[in-house]
């Protein structure tokens, strides 16, 4: 019976020091070339991020929600905005965070008998609030309506006759109604828009994610989206700015009429009212029984637009004469 004998000679092993796993020069070069091209491709694919860091600084990325910021943090943010505006527009702005006043609730009233449709309010608003000229964003839309109807489908905003008012028409400016029951606030998934104690619905442009739900929810088409980076001519920039108001907006966020927060919270009238040549527009504090708007609500037959949708607007229309 043959005995099994162990073969004493070691079997040549593939994992020995002379085997194929030893990194030879050829495979090293091949592998490092693959790795280098992979890294280059990764860098190229991340290249758009380099542009992004220009648009959003680390401070802005880490910034808190408006309502959670301490006054010191707000000061830092305002300093950052001042710096950015100065870099971009070569104008030193006065950026402030205007807070609502106690015992003040703003209400707007518009006399449709007086409005002649001259669109001065539209353009004064654009100038005051640093609205984008191209692509064009306007908060106020003046509808030319045929007499005898309130069918909004019959109103047109692109009228352009040689002179206004045109026979047989009345003019109905529409802007944000600063509703007491605002559907735009309800739909916001990130709470970037809310109602302040003085009734103004505001947007934190640094918190908005640009989903446009609020635009869809608004029954008055009062919200506008920045599809592109807003362009404002340097020499037309209004340097009196507020955080929640007319500071330059980034691309991809919503904006809306805020009753000229930088004016009205400093006691001034909004720009659209100041420029109205006919005195159709009236603005004030509804909690003050002596104010103009209180008089109008007491003495004129006011109505609100689309009352049936239950938004409880703070913007009242009326006819007199």
């Amino acid at each position: 019976m043959p005995t099994a004998t162990n073969n004493p000679s070691p079997r040549p092993s593939g994992t020995g020091p002379n085997g194929s796993d030893r990194l030879d020069r050829r495979s090293f070069l091949r592998k490092s070339a693959v790795a280098a091209s992979g890294l280059a491709a990764l860098a190229a694919s991340l290249a758009p991020l380099r542009d992004l860091t220009d648009a959003m600084s680390m401070d802005e990325f880490l910034q808190k929600h408006y309502l959670e910021m301490t006054p010191e943090e707000m000061d830092k943010v305002l300093a950052r905005i001042t710096r950015e505006v100065e870099q971009q527009y070569a104008v030193r702005p006065h950026v402030k965070d205007y807070k609502p006043m106690d015992g003040v609730e703003f209400v707007y009233a518009l006399n449709l008998s007086r409005c002649i449709g001259c669109r001065k309010c539209v353009h004064a608003c654009v100038a005051e609030n640093n609205l984008s000229r191209d692509p064009e964003i306007q908060y106020i839309r003046v509808l030319e309506m045929p007499n005898g109807t309130f069918d909004m489908e019959k109103g047109r905003h692109d009228y352009n006759p040689a002179q206004v008012p045109r026979e047989g028409h009345f003019y109905m400016p529409v802007q944000c109604h600063q509703c007491k029951n605002p559907p735009c606030v309800k739909v916001c998934p990130v709470e970037a828009t809310w109602q302040e104690s003085d009734g103004i619905t505001v947007v934190d442009y640094d918190w908005c994610i640009g989903c446009r739900y609020c635009e869809a929810a608004c029954p008055y088409w009062a919200r506008r989206f920045n599809f592109a980076k807003p362009s404002v001519p340097k020499d037309n920039l209004n340097p009196n700015m507020s955080y929640l108001g007319n500071r330059p907006r980034p691309k991809g966020v919503m904006e809306k009429c805020h009753f000229c927060i930088q004016r009205t919270r400093a006691g001034r009238y909004p720009a659209c009212l100041e420029v109205c040549p006919t005195g159709s527009r009236k603005f004030g504090n509804i909690l003050d029984p002596e104010s103009e708007v209180s008089y109008i609500l007491k003495n004129k037959r006011v109505f609100v637009l689309k009352e049936e949708v239950g938004t409880l607007p703070r913007f009242f229309y009326y006819f007199d004469v």
């Binding site: 306007q138 905003h157 009228y159 206004v164 001034r268 009238y269 040549p277 005195g279 008089y295």
Partner: protein, 241 residues
């Protein structure tokens, strides 16, 4: 294959329907300045500007009531000097950019063509000829004084009470701040509230608000409506029958 055709058709449709909006024109500054349409005598006096247009007795004889001439329709016939007086009180800056000159156009007889915005600046107070009588408001023997129907007299620089003599409800609204312009501050403790009198917006001789050139329309026109334009209520009624 079908998908490719559909995509091609969709792209063609898109290509045909998309039109680039016209390039944006800068807005003239007249659409953003808060100037009043007129400069009233009160404002001119306050600003110490030229009020020679109200110096009635540079031409008229003081203390003598001037006879008025009427045309066949019972309207007062105005001498050319008074038409000029009426124009000169308009506040040019409300509609014209001071940087840009105004191009004057002439007709075949080399007369200036008056643009439509200026054409309602004639004696046209209300719809009745009887409202257009000079001495309804001016005192016949002292033209620089205005008199209400009840006999109260006011200088030319204070017209509100004279206008309110007939336009009572409007005066009441004006006093409450509802009629007319109120500029400056809504909060009286923050700053001055600037109010304008009747004649800063209304020409007392033709008080209907002047026509204006509208500001440029939005770059994006109204799209054609997809909703049917017929009256849905009557349509519904027809269906019920």
């Amino acid at each position: 294959m079908v998908f490719v055709l559909l995509t091609a058709g969709f792209l063609l449709k898109l290509w045909g329907s998309y039109s680039v909006p016209p390039p944006h024109q800068p807005t003239p500054s007249v659409f953003t300045n808060p100037a009043t349409v007129r400069l009233s005598t009160a404002e001119l006096t306050e600003l110490e500007e030229d009020v020679s247009g109200t110096a009635c007795y540079a031409c008229h004889e003081e203390g003598v009531a001037r006879e008025l001439a009427y045309d066949d329709n019972g309207m007062v016939m105005l001498p050319a000097a008074h038409k000029d007086l009426i124009y000169s009180r308009m506040n040019c800056a409300a509609c014209h950019d001071p940087e840009e000159g105004v191009e004057v156009e002439y007709d075949d007889d080399v007369n200036v063509i008056i643009p439509p915005a200026h054409q309602n600046a004639v004696l046209r107070h209300g719809t009745h000829a009887r409202n257009n009588n000079c001495y309804n408001c001016h005192v016949a023997t002292n033209l620089t004084v205005l008199r209400t129907r009840s006999g109260e007299e006011f200088p030319l620089s204070n017209t509100t009470q004279v206008c309110g003599g007939c336009h009572g409800p409007t005066l009441r609204d004006w006093e409450a701040g509802i009629h007319g312009r109120w500029n400056g501050f809504w909060l009286a403790s923050s700053g001055e509230q600037k109010r304008t009198g009747c004649t800063s917006c209304h020409d007392p001789h033709a008080p209907a608000f002047p026509f204006m050139i509208p500001g440029p329309p939005p770059a994006r026109p109204d799209t054609d409506r997809h909703t049917p334009q017929h009256d849905s209520l009557s349509d519904h009624a027809n269906r019920d029958e």
